[in-house]
Symmetry: C2
Subunit: 151 residues, 2 copies
DNA sequence: TCCATTATTAACGTGAACGTCAACATCATA
DNA sequence: TATGATGTTGACGTTCACGTTAATAATGGA
């Protein structure tokens, strides 16, 4: 059996699963959004399926909140650090450091949430506008129908 | 008194009111998002304040729905045509033509609304994720606090 | 009437997020 | 083991939505 588990993907399959191209995946890695990917044997990257969620997360932050890849990278790096915190929990890497990291993460997440709330409000306004417009159009269309009948 | 009404803006003021730069305004005109602006005397553009809403609409469609300016242009042109329909109502420019136009507009608006609903759903998912993350961070932070006290 | 402020067009520049191509390596399977 | 599909790293190209600069003209108040 190969050194990788059975459920590891090559870049082509992985990209399809994420709904992007291999180029995008390599680009994300180069920009530090996907940390250096384990290579099989010498050169080929192998992707664990749970990385799909990470790529989808990137796309969501990109399209839903209009974040730049650089902003997203910073956020992901911070989240990763918090995640490793749990791992290193019993190595006790200075309580102060842990607290600072958590405070940063809390701050960042709060900002993201604020942005989410703003967007949802704006979207609701847009929704109202569109629904109004639609009903006006439908009224006009019905009016036009009646006029057509009357001929 | 000048041939324009008192409440007409020059491009600098207008751009500020829209929260963009004059360059953006001229660019929008060039791309057909703002129909040829009436010029005072010879060259200078004058903007009616109600055009501010149009620019804001453009920005909303851009940032909230991720539309390209080309898509937005098409949508605005269609809306404008429907608007002139009302004006030309008694000129009766062929009932069929009116109905086709309205049907197109209804179709387009429906698509926009569908997009809005999708986005809102995605945003709600993101919101849930972020709120979960935040509470986990806060729990960790509290844990860290208690540990600090215990020393 | 002078002159600082603002506007005009035309042209080239820019940053982000990839696309595309070349030249080569590696995989999987018949 | 041959070979077609897939992967690798550069490096240059592309699109969108403007930014910036230059050279010139119009505005409007002292």
């Amino acid at each position: 059996m190969s050194p990788q588990t059975a459920s590891t993907l090559r870049i082509g399959q992985f990209a399809v699963a994420c709904g992007v191209t291999p180029r995008t995946i390599r680009f994300y890695e180069q920009q530090g959004l996907l940390s250096a990917i384990p290579r099989q044997t010498h050169t080929m990257r192998r992707y664990s399926p749970d990385l799909i969620a990470r790529v989808e997360r990137i796309q969501h932050l990109q399209t839903l909140l209009d974040w730049s890849l650089e902003d997203i990278r910073a956020a992901l790096v911070l989240e990763d650090q918090v995640a490793t915190l749990r791992t290193q929990y019993y190595q006790n890497p200075s309580v102060i450091h842990r607290q600072n990291l958590l405070d940063e993460a809390i701050q960042l997440t709060t900002n993201q949430l604020t942005r989410v709330y703003q967007r949802m409000e704006s979207l609701q306004n847009l929704q109202r506008d569109l629904e109004d417009k639609l009903s006006r159009y439908r009224a006009l269309r019905a009016e036009s129908d009646r006029e057509d009948d009357a001929r």
